[in-house]
């Protein structure tokens, strides 16, 4: 393992009860890359993400983030869960959600200092949510909610960003805004890992792809990996593939 890798996964096995859902996964990602994890429903994408975020204990294998394992490694990780998993009735404003990102730095009792406040302000600015920061989280649209969670991740900082379906249920404008932010993160030398569902936009958004169906089918630069053969192998027969001159379009 070279010291420069941002995220390394070796021989990872995950299961639910008796059922093995992820088998022998090996991944190596460099800093400054924007990576999509793609695969059909039930391929183990979410389980893999959970394991990286520390919410799922692996059967075996190692996950190394910025050269460190376990809890120490996860200090470098910033996780954006799937949007549907929180309670929209919760009494919390957009700004307070973003402030939670700083909890990783201020701990339990330290007051928010100038740099913490600046990080919150900048993060809200980056996703264009400053004007709505005093809204209760449930009063925002789906796209706006997703921006707030992205802002929370930005406020938290970190080297590796892990996002579970950030584009699910958001409007086109938000999708575009999110992609802009992800690219800016990549250009700043961060590693951004995104679980993605929409095969039409895959080649636009990501530099690299990891094709997953229980185990890794292929990984590497998008142009090399996103081929009809690989996609067929990943998705089995449930896929119509249109091969045009310059691009592969896929419909699940």
């Amino acid at each position: 393992m070279s010291a420069g890798d941002a995220l390394t996964i070796q021989h990872l096995n995950l299961s639910y009860g008796a059922e093995r859902v992820v088998e022998d996964v090996n991944v190596k990602l460099k800093p400054g890359s924007l990576v999509g994890i793609v695969g059909p429903n039930g391929a183990g994408k979410s389980t893999l993400i959970k394991a990286i975020a520390g919410a799922k204990e692996p059967d075996s294998g190692t996950i190394t983030i910025c050269g460190e394992e376990g809890r120490r490694g996860r200090r470098h990780l910033t996780y954006v869960p799937q949007r549907g998993e929180v309670d929209w009735d919760f009494p919390i404003t957009a700004e307070e959600v973003v402030r939670q990102g700083r909890f990783a730095h201020v701990g339990l009792l330290r007051r928010f200092r100038g740099d913490d406040k600046a990080a919150v302000t900048d993060a809200l600015q980056a996703v264009a949510m400053t004007a709505l920061k005093h809204r209760q989280i449930g009063e925002l649209s789906g796209g706006q909610q997703q921006r707030v969670f992205l802002a929370r991740a930005l406020a938290q900082g970190g080297e590796v960003f892990l996002m579970d379906e950030p584009f699910a249920g958001v409007d086109a404008a938000t999708e575009k805004a999110i992609v802009e932010v992800l690219r800016a993160l990549r250009d700043a030398g961060k590693t951004v890992v995104v679980v993605h569902h929409d095969l039409v936009t895959v080649s636009d958004y990501f530099d690299e792809l990891v094709l997953l169906n229980r185990t890794i089918i292929a990984q590497g630069p998008t142009a090399e990996v996103f081929t009809p053969d690989n996609m067929r192998e990943t998705y089995g027969g449930n896929l119509a593939i249109f091969d045009r001159r310059d691009a592969v379009a896929v419909v699940e």
Partner: protein, 312 residues
């Protein structure tokens, strides 16, 4: 255990089931009926994730009883039962009514109704008797139940109501099962879900009111929750769960009444609950649907399959 005590236990148990004493027969009938009715109605409540509505409905009977007493001025059973029934239905419907819409958690709604109705009952009782501890005996019977005091007339009422419940569940089985599984879908089919809801809550209230005499307010919830929860480990299908729940409820009632007869000082209500808990523990351990032992076996088989040779 001394050798003698098992013999004594067996002979006392045989004596109970020989039904030579009327009061034993009545206690047995009451307990079995309560177990069966609660097992049936409870299945729907547990599957809808509304297990504790029964607990709330039980507690919600108290103000009805008090108001019935205030209005009639007597302790006549039919009036008090009717009062209990009305306020239990009201409590259950209040829960479904306030849980609709934003900013209300269904579980909190149950707690709100449970405590407010019960508090109101306590207030009314303390108003009825200037001293709040005046009628402790009656209250204690209401809280903890007394199957031995059930009269044949009451058993007749319970049996009749139970039969009606079974028939109604049979007639409305399809819409009910649909609503339990997916209320939105049931609504989209044009089913009168509001009326079904009212019906189900009324059935719950009836079950609760009929059971209070035998098991008391606090343990009604147990007979509504424990047998159905155990039954879920035994079958994957709704009819299977229903039958298993009813059978376990009835058997818990019978064994509970027997234990109460054999051991002096043991009341029927708590005894049936503990028998039901025993069934629940068995189901948790050995039930074919998700029981601990079958799951462990399956996991082991899977591991062996994963490693040909089966070593380790």
């Amino acid at each position: 255990m001394e050798t003698g005590s098992t013999d004594i236990f067996l002979s006392r148990a045989a004596e109970f089931f020989s039904l030579q004493y009327d009061f034993a027969l009545y206690a047995l009938l009451a307990a079995v009926l309560v177990g069966v009715i609660c097992g049936l109605v409870g299945t729907f409540m547990v599957l809808r994730g509304m297990s504790l509505v029964g607990d709330a409905a039980g507690h919600a009977t108290l103000p009805g009883v008090a108001i019935a007493f205030l209005l009639t001025g007597t302790k006549s059973a039919p009036a008090l039962l009717l009062g209990a029934l009305v306020s239990a239905v009201l409590g259950a419907m209040t829960i479904t009514w306030i849980s609709r819409g934003p900013r209300v958690r269904a579980d909190a709604a149950i707690g709100i109704v449970l405590s407010t109705f019960f508090g109101l009952g306590i207030v009314l009782l303390s108003y009825i008797q200037a001293s709040p501890t005046g009628q402790q005996a009656g209250l204690s019977e209401y809280l903890f139940g007394n199957a031995a005091a059930v009269t044949p007339a009451q058993i007749g009422v319970v049996a009749l109501a139970g039969a009606v419940l079974v028939v109604l569940v049979g007639i409305f089985y399809r819409p009910l099962s649909l609503m339990v599984f997916d209320e939105r879908f049931a609504q989209s089919l044009g089913l009168p879900t509001h009326w079904l809801e009212l019906g189900l809550m009324s059935a719950l209230a009836v079950a609760v009111v009929l059971s209070i005499q035998a098991v008391g307010v606090i343990l009604v919830a147990a007979m509504l929750i424990i047998p159905p929860s155990a039954a879920r480990f035994l079958s994957k299908k709704l009819p299977g769960v229903m039958v298993a729940s009813v059978v376990m409820g009835g058997v818990s009632g019978a064994l509970g009444a027997m234990l109460s007869y054999v051991y002096e000082g043991v009341a029927t209500g708590p005894a049936m609950v503990l028998v039901a808990v025993f069934f629940f523990a068995l189901a948790l351990g050995f039930g074919p649907v998700g029981g601990a032992l079958p799951r462990a076996l399956r996991r082991r088989r899977a591991r062996q399959r994963a490693m040909p040779g089966g070593a380790r």
